[in-house]
Subunit: 427 residues, 4 copies
């Protein structure tokens, strides 16, 4: 779906004057503190977050799902949805495919369609945590780590197939989230599982084209509840190191034990040159997969402060970071949930960009933790929404994407078009 | 399914002599320490654990389910499965119905069938966390706590209907697990949700027959991830107190925040006279619902030590405790998982019965924590399996229920009979 | 220490013009959204946070303490420190005494001194978690919960003595943090410990003057690591209910298990009419006692949103809430740490005051969680520092209290005056 | 203190007959299952746990300490205490020195004394988390990670000095627990702190004699509460890899975030060839440092099962593991607490030695998780106390070390000898 430019302009019209006053005021304040607002606006254009194709439908839990009407029925409709999100936010210029939920039957057409929406294909995602109806071996007891070589082979082949699809679409990376694990002590030989996984990943790694990267996700638990083969960044990085310089660790914010200092993990991975990408979401208890920034916005800001600071002095030679939203939209309209999440990401990034790192480093050298707190707090305190709105305005998007989407009744249009009862693919 | 007695006897035969030696040895050891083994054997017969009708199929997570063949296809087959479990373990003489997953179309017949298996109907369970196809209002935004009176009414009526079914089957209690909650700050008015819930529960409570009890379960999170209306025992007990003397708190072992001292909650609830029942399972991370005793067997022992001690001096006048297993059998054959869980419960109960409480109280009065540890440790150290086996033997069950079930190839028989692909009801 | 008014005015001078521009701009923005800025400024004056007398020295951990020079050497110097903090922030108009660390040898004089600084005495705090050199019985194995009646008697008498001191100083409440607990399973009879505690508290409660309130703090662990007699709000409220209408629960932000939804506890306690007070601090892992708002500022905002909303419609008839900072200033200059903490509290309170609760309630009734998030987020996004600065300005305080304190080199003056090596009382 | 052999024999006499019956019975049972009891007895002799010199006094928390009389007043008295523990348990044949709490003024004499007690010096421990009175630079803002090169130099020199002491005593390893971290976001540059640490460790590593090993401990929090420089095994192993083949990771059981699967970390470290040693204790909430095995004995068993299994097939070429108890004896008599802890370690090790790993591996290859659970459970269920008692008996120690120590009134003798008020060194 593509919104006519005049519709957006009409929507913005009433708010523009007020926006411009706010933006000027903010700009003046920031410039007085020495920040280059125009540069931040330029950098914002480079912050493009991938939307995964499975995120457009209503999510659920093991206890059930309450579906929403108008969900996209196929890959092209999903691309259209992401295209809309990008048009409205200007920070969602990438999409991430999940195989086999969204096998591109006509890759060339899909690629062209995405291109029309200004979208590029980001990392492709494999799935060996569910059985498909046509599958020879079950993944009930694992996939890449399975004790049976035939099952591992099948899972490896699946990943190779995903790479093949990715190549057709222009992707340059594969994300492996390996759910394998065990539910009870003794069920699995922990060492064998790890070594089998390394062997399987090596075959996948070797199959990747030279210009591809492999992202290895980690997660402490769920869907298995005693052990997970790749439970933490340490194991992921061990595997990435063993594979080679094109293998990296991927950080999903929800995949940590309680109280983990995630921003320190980010800092370390950047230092080690092994940070590949992020899956954004938020959580209070476990892998809750709720809206980005809805629970711990300050943590998100601190994570971005490590990114901004670390990538500005990229001693580890990390590649450009691959960002993706990976949440489960159980209650809200998924499109709105994604837009709110993108807003939060952009806000956190902007705030991380107005930390005075030079001053911060100076006070750190003096162990002046009071002043360090003042500096961080100053950046976090600013109301930077006008800066994000200005970015939207300059890129011909609505000043307020949430309000625009609601005003346009887009969900209603989709329900009329696509039906009120749609079976979700994906989770 | 009922196993012929001679089959069991044949199975036991080879092991009996060795068992009797072990049992004599254990008995002598325990009697030397002053324990009445015969009394423990008698008490064990009173420890009857309910099996819920939804536990007989293979469970899953939001990421998928790997099903098992031979699952029961209807209520009567479920009763048959539970009947078998009881025959093999002699500690599963109760079953717990979940409406609407297992609506008894012919209650009299089901009751008679259960009776034939020596089973009684324990608490009935309502479900307002999922939408049923024929339902007028959705529970997407809550049920008993919903902002809309019509939805609350529907949820109340459902609970009344569950009570009606329970009456037909001889149940004497209703368990309410209210999943209602919110996923994001601001989504729900926390106070309104709680007061609405109290009002709804009051109507259900008033509808219950005079000799019924209401059990109010609590859970900190999942399926909602920011707030849950009844997140902890404090809220549950507040509601139970507000309702009256036939309302109680129900403790599900998996429904606690990390590091919670569950045995202290049990002790407190017994002290307050508000302990209604238990849902047994085990967990390492969240509401993992793995096999009872597979992760923290010592905690299970400590919980039973509070039960044994507290109910022996029941100053709060708690009713007999309703026990149920509430786990998700994702990997193991559910029948075997239940048998292993029942074994663990029985073992923990037996060990809690051989704590020398008199000596413990004495050393507690002297603050002798070294000796207190010795006393607890002494009880936990014993290998009490012979005592459980003796109980089985005297009740004409196999000495080793797991081995017996496997030897008899019962799953295979069921697959032949019921088919290898069965749609699970329930989770 | 009292700062001359001209010094403050001189300090503010350079910033006033810029402040006034920012404040006008913010005021206009808020008023356009319907908020009464003047009313918020008035309400801010009512938000007075108590500073405990033990907070003025450098804190430490069990691994050691790195002290700071210039710490106050006696109660009157502590009052002077708090007086300064209040002069600089205008939100610290209360002080909280800890007995026996700060026994007022001349209560009348101390009261007058405090009065001169505009300070009132808030809740007094007892201490039965440490042994004093002149103490007959040790608290090693508990105090109010002790198995020995003589030890309980001593602990009760201590609390009565604390009440007596409080009466002399004008306090109207006693806060009991009962550290009693056990380190190993079996060490303590959990039921006996609870019932002993109730009995002891009843004697303390009965001793309180009619116009006093008792605040019962809870904490899950530390200094004991297996069980704590009052581990959670449920136990605290049980005790408060058993004692009577002048007993309340006190919430210390750091005293919760991982992932606890503290704002929901606050909402519940207000609903039940049992919220007595707060101890503010922040934490990432345990009872870390770090600077308020330094880790989870959004949680602090959500807590205040429950307070503002709940107290505006105080159906439970809660008394005015007693606020106190209870942190351990291990690294920063304690005065600066307290000022930063007070800033964060004021900011959170102001942001909670610009939530549009009417609109929020409306969208909640429509289950519009997207809009609910927008409303909360709108309030949290504003940069409300100008409003706090305006409050300071109108009350003749420095616009920036942190910068002022540093510019004036106050710590240096104190070191010259009080010495560089001072033994802290307290923790 | 050395107990006369006849005293022990007299103590054992009454219990020997009963013991021999129990041992024969257990032996027969285990041999029927294919285990070589004599071999386990031999292996037990190789399980020697170091006692740290700071463990002999009563521990405390930041809230205080309740001391015990008769604590050792100097290094030689500490050696005597450990000698007694070893004589009574026969599994404490090592001691671990902490500098500067226990600087050996006469190393030769101390070494000889230890030798007389059958004790060898295990890893030496440095301390840069506290300031000593004669210290030039403070560690308030870090030591090996400090921003100031002079402070780092001082901390490095301290570690070198510790190595020198260790050399005199026959130690072959240095354990570095680096407490460095930060309390507030922004206080520390996380990357700089890590790189400084690596640089400092390298200098220490290079200073070590060729036959020494370096153990790098990790801990997520405390004494700092926002970040710790070496928070997890991933960071520790990164450092160990960067240093070289004589650097290893050390696992302290209490140094993990909630719900961590510690046994999997152990398995991984063995696989990677980077497991250096253990600090044993137990915990329910944080780094509680309570008695080993008192909270999660099953976890201890699982950890030993990974050790036994992994070291039997040591593909990573790990050196012999260095075991130490590192608990805080706050309530119990420290000697008794250590004896109970040693008992628990020995019991867990014995149970891990009677797992049928061959059968386990076979069922793992068949994904038979039911049988895997049966196998683990079988080993854990045995009452193996007779085996431990037999080991004691054969080594001329009391059958029941706890009972013996109490019967002999040893604490009372020490109080008479050493005084009832002793200042602890250490924590």
């Amino acid at each position: 779906m593509r919104i006519g430019q005049h519709t957006i302009e009409a929507f913005n019209e009433g708010e523009i004057q007020e926006h411009q006053r706010s933006f000027s005021f903010l700009k003046e304040q920031l410039e007085r503190q020495g920040f280059d607002v125009e540069r931040i606006l330029t950098q914002l254009a480079e912050l493009q977050i991938a939307i995964p194709t499975w995120a457009l439908g209503q999510g659920g839990t093991r206890f059930g799902r309450f579906s929403i009407g108008g969900q996209p029925r196929n890959l092209n409709e999903k691309i259209a949805d992401i295209g809309l999100i990008h048009q409205l936010t200007q920070v969602a210029g990438r999409l991430s495919l999940h195989i086999p939920w969204d096998i591109p039957s006509q890759p060339e057409e899909s690629k062209k369609l995405a291109d029309n929406y200004g979208l590029a294909f980001d990392a492709v995602n494999s799935n060996t945590f569910q059985d498909q109806s046509d599958q020879l071996h079950s993944y009930k007891h694992g996939s890449l780590s399975h004790v049976d070589e035939a099952v591992r082979r099948q899972a490896i082949d699946h990943n190779k197939e995903v790479i093949d699809y990715g190549k057709m679409l222009g992707s340059k990376s594969l994300t492996v989230w390996l759910a394998d694990g065990s539910n009870h002590p003794g069920q699995s030989n922990l060492r064998t599982a790890l070594l089998n996984t390394l062997d399987s990943l090596r075959q996948i790694y070797d199959y990747m084209p030279e210009d591809w990267q492999l992202f290895i996700e980690y997660k402490p638990f769920e869907p298995y509840f005693y052990s997970t083969v790749i439970p933490d960044w340490g194991t992921s990085m061990y595997l990435a190191n063993a594979l080679g310089h094109r293998a990296f660790t991927l950080v999903d914010l929800g995949h940590h034990l309680p109280n983990t200092n995630i921003e320190q993990i980010v800092s370390n991975l950047i230092t080690f040159g092994k940070l590949g990408g992020f899956h954004f979401n938020d959580s209070k208890y476990a892998d809750d997969d709720v809206s980005v920034g809805s629970i711990k916005p300050y943590q998100l800001f601190l994570i971005f402060s490590e990114i901004v600071q670390g990538m500005a002095n990229n001693i580890g030679h990390n590649p450009a970071i691959a960002y993706m939203i990976d949440a489960s939209h159980n209650i809200k309209d998924p499109i709105l949930d994604l837009i709110q999440s993108l807003d939060q990401i952009a806000i956190a990034y902007i705030k991380a960009s107005i930390i005075d790192y030079k001053a911060l480093n100076e006070v750190q050298l003096e162990n002046d933790s009071v002043q360090a707190a003042e500096i961080l707090n100053n950046a976090f305190s600013f109301d930077v929404r006008p800066l994000l709105r200005e970015y939207r305005l300059r890129n011909r998007a609505p000043l307020d994407a949430v309000a625009f989407y609601r005003q346009q009744n887009i969900r209603k249009l989709w329900i009329e078009d696509r039906g009120s009862v749609v079976e979700s693919s994906g989770l």
